[in-house]
């Protein structure tokens, strides 16, 4: 599903990721852990080809970082759902409209959009919020909207970049629970976090990064 082959990337001399070899299998749920600046976000960005490695190559869902042309990257991204720490919700749109956006991109018909959005709202426990605007929701609720937007298109892979970073423990647990449920339905999940406490009792694979290098996987 995801394969890093000896990749390196750096923004500057001090920050980046170096010589990473890594494989994530279909249906896997893994945590990407490490302190701030260890390269977690860079690694996730490389998975959806937002940044490309200087050295080595990445294979994601059949797309190779060296062979995929710039104008074909969107095809890969259609198969990936991304959850951001800062939610990246459109403030002038309702919860429903935010969640429906990826389906419009995929050219899904109105009827199917309605069905899929309702299903995603249900799974994220947001059915009562569909006509609200993001600024009317709490942080945890906004993050659930972000999750609903990521899952609504039934992606093969979900990348969650510190999805619980801004949340209180209860909200963070709820988010993790939703992600676990999504994973049980067959979607692979890579979740970046530095909240060790949250994942300490979980029996999932942990990939640890430190100063851009792989410590354990």
């Amino acid at each position: 599903m995801v394969e890093f082959k000896n990749i390196s990337f750096s923004y500057s001399k001090e920050s980046g990721v170096y010589d990473i070899d890594l494989k994530v299998q279909d249906g896997e749920f893994c945590f990407l852990v490490g302190p701030t600046g260890s390269g977690k976000t860079s690694l996730l960005k490389m998975i959806y080809f937002d940044i490309l490695p200087f050295k080595g190559e990445i294979n994601v869902l059949g797309y190779n970082s060296k062979k995929t042309k710039k104008n074909k990257v969107h095809k890969l991204r259609k198969k990936i759902g991304v959850i951001f720490q800062d939610y990246k919700l459109l403030q002038q749109r309702t919860v429903y409209e935010n969640i429906a956006l990826p389906l419009h991109i995929n050219g899904v018909g109105r009827k199917k959009i309605k069905d899929n959005v309702e299903e995603a709202l249900d799974l994220s426990d947001l059915s009562d919020y569909q006509n609200k605007f993001p600024h009317q929701l709490s942080g945890g609720e906004q993050q659930r909207v972000c999750i609903a937007r990521a899952i609504v298109k039934n992606p093969e892979l979900i990348l969650a970049d510190e999805p619980t970073g801004n949340l209180d423990p209860a909200a963070a647990h709820k988010i993790l629970k939703i992600l676990e449920q999504i994973n049980k339905e067959g979607t692979s999940i890579i979740m970046a976090t530095h909240n060790y406490k949250l994942i300490s009792d979980k029996d999932y694979r942990i990939i640890e990064l430190k100063e851009g290098s792989l410590v354990s996987s």
Binding site: H74, L76, K79, I80, K88, P102, G109
Partner: protein, 286 residues
Amino acid sequence: MIDQFAFLISEGFKSFYRNKLASFLCVITIFINFSILGSLFVVGYNTNSLVDFFRSKYTFEIFLVDDIEEKTYIDFVNQLNSNKIIANTELIDKQKSAIIFKKEFGEDVVEMLGYNPLPISVKVFINEEDFDFSKVDLLIKSLSNIDFVDEVEYRGRYIDEVEDRINLAIFLFLVFVVAIIFLSYQIISNTVNLSMTNRKDFIDILKYNGASRIFIKIPFYIESIIYSVIGSSLSFFFVKYFFITFNSYFDLNIKMDDYLWLWIIGFSIFIGLYSSNQSMKRNLNE
């Protein structure tokens, strides 16, 4: 597919609506620019008529001495008519001169003075095709040297000058047109630029969710089409009714191309699409 297209159209309108002030200023600028451009189109369209109008003045008048015999001036007129550069002639004898004088000044000169002091003259119309000023000038000089020719009055010397000025005006118009097109390009480009900056979050979300470049661009193309259509339609109506009023007020016959609306609106859409595309290229790092 239809739903997707409807979504993109609605996004274009939303974008237009959200940047109210920028959209309003853009439409007003397009309106002003295309009103000027449309007026220039109309002037350009009528330039040929203007040149024809001046060319129709390609005449000169030969005034003959008072004591000339009838046979002499009739032979002279026949001789003139056989000249290739002359289209035709009109003989104005003493009676005709008196009628013209009465028409223009309201006085019967014969009744007033008891005799007719007006000279016999010949109005000469020069062939407009293959007009060559030097040939006409040469002809006038040779005619002036004839004994029974008193004076040759020719206003054509100024026509060349007028045509030169018309050509200069056309050149200046073209420079002006280019400047206006450039200005419209800049305004639309900057407005789309502003719109894209305002909607950076929207563009990012589209990108991360797998939207192709064309999908991201279409709402902004639509936005620029809306600016162009509104601004140029207003300018078309302005130009049309301006010239209708101008014609009726000054009793002129300035004509308008039947497809003026198509030129103005089509051209503004073209500029709108081109400038927004350039702006998007910059914003999407293409």
